[in-house]
Symmetry: C2
Subunit: 290 residues, 2 copies
């Protein structure tokens, strides 16, 4: 089914800003797939069609509680030989997301995007295990690292998340987002710490792409605030972006592939944002003590 | 070292209300151990000393990230033959906590406590695996179930937490608290859902007793509101109790045994409560969209 880091990201971010997708696809990525992106206003000019090639493919399964994914098959396919040639418009984008792919490729795209003022990077345990040094270099070239909390621990060798996040920040990024599956996500930004629980769902159909939808909601919303003249490093702005990321991830997992997110409205997103916030509120006024 | 469900619970709850401890101890539980409880004002009249007996003993170890405990050794010792004889004051307590022990024993204490208007129960996978029917009966006799989220899933056979919590409520309790380790805790009460992240700690020394300290902060705070004439089933009151539970659990894990909690002050607890709340806040006002 339709998926892939860039597709999940682009659809989620499209509710907040204009998105340009860069990457190679094979012959199996046809007009129907492009149509899903274009119907959400995503600019697909920089999608490179490799004749005779096949699109990147991932297959995996999830544990009982849907929180842990296991990779069964990864085929880089057209990504194995990809040499990105970006349009001028893409090079000048101010917010950049480097989806989960070979770290060297992430770094070369980062370098091509001269206009990027805030670059985020996602990765996974596969690259941690197989190309650790390249991944650490790529992380050193971005402003924001988005990883599962267990991967941040593995990356830094620190079992404690607070220490692991600080060690990751010492590699370069000023912002670290720890994704926690159904438990939500945590944000480390300078000395600010923020944690948001996951939106409560009774039906989790397929977690695939949830992290990319999170990144799309997060960075897409940040770009809308940047376009409004605000700083994406403002703590309140980053926290609100985390909430939008959580909301987009929660919609992602409600159906297979991109089914749920591609048919969303901004009103549904904002409605769920309010519900999510309502589930986190508590008072702290002084109470009787003995 | 000093521990046990009742001890962790009583110390945590003692910051909010008067606590009476019921249970058997052996000769190895001496004046020093009693002194720790009494220095926090805990009433120990109903602690029964079994001459020649040994106190309940648990030993375990934790996984790398401190989130999962494995039992290495459990010795019921004096609990194996325990026949609770409660004082009139204990029988009339309006809030009751049944710590993690044989479910039949929990149920018999519940029946003895005629004055209890709100009874909470904790358990663990050991009883789920070995005395499931008795546990379900005990759960049916209380108002609030406190369990790790994985245990609620196991109890109900529902992999989804929202469905699992509802299935647990159908066993009797109107309130279900899902403990999530470092990720915090979630509250199901009627149709209200509340989730609170864990307080961020850089040094987690020993998670043993964290669940009991959570229960002590939670039920102890509820009792203080009850004493002030409020309903413990009020959603805002329950949410604030969840926050106090999280704070007490966070102090618990900072040192071995009861070291950290026994030397706390209410001011330190309220200070951490404010820090915890600060880490959860985000805005939802309308933002620019494209």
């Amino acid at each position: 089914m339709l998926g892939g880091s860039a597709v999940h990201f682009a659809l989620a971010a499209s509710f907040f800003t204009e998105v340009r997708v860069v990457g190679p696809v094979g012959d199996d990525f046809g007009a129907e797939q492009l149509g899903v992106l274009e119907s959400r206003g995503v600019v697909t000019d920089d999608i490179e069609r490799v004749s005779g090639g096949e699109t990147f493919f991932w297959r995996g399964h999830y544990e009982y509680d849907m929180n842990v994914a296991h990779t069964d098959d990864t085929q880089l396919n057209v990504f194995a030989e990809f040499d990105p040639k970006l349009s001028e418009e893409s090079r000048q984008a101010e917010i950049l997301f480097l989806g989960n792919i070979q770290p060297e490729l992430q770094r070369s795209v980062r370098e091509l995007c001269e206009g990027a003022k805030f670059a985020g990077l996602d990765s996974m345990n596969f690259w941690l295990d197989n190309e650790r040094e390249a991944l650490v270099r790529a992380i050193g070239a971005v402003d924001c690292l988005l990883l599962n909390d267990a991967e941040i621990r593995e990356l830094t060798g620190e079992p404690n998340l607070a220490r692991a996040a600080r060690a990751a920040m010492e590699m370069g990024p000023g912002v670290v987002v720890a994704k926690r599956g159904e438990y939500g996500a945590a944000l480390f930004s300078g000395d600010d710490f923020f944690a948001i629980p996951g939106f409560l769902l009774e039906d989790v159909t397929d977690p695939t792409g949830a992290g990319d939808s999170f990144a799309g909601g997060f960075l897409g919303y940040l770009d809308s605030r940047r376009a409004a003249g605000e700083s994406v490093l403002d703590h309140a702005v980053l926290r609100q972006a985390m909430a939008y990321g959580s909301v987009l991830a929660s919609f992602n997992v409600e159906d297979f592939g991109t089914e749920r997110v591609q048919s969303l409205t901004r009103e549904q997103i904002d409605e769920r944002l309010r519900e999510l916030r309502q589930s986190t509120l508590f008072e702290v006024e002084q109470a009787p003590s003995s």
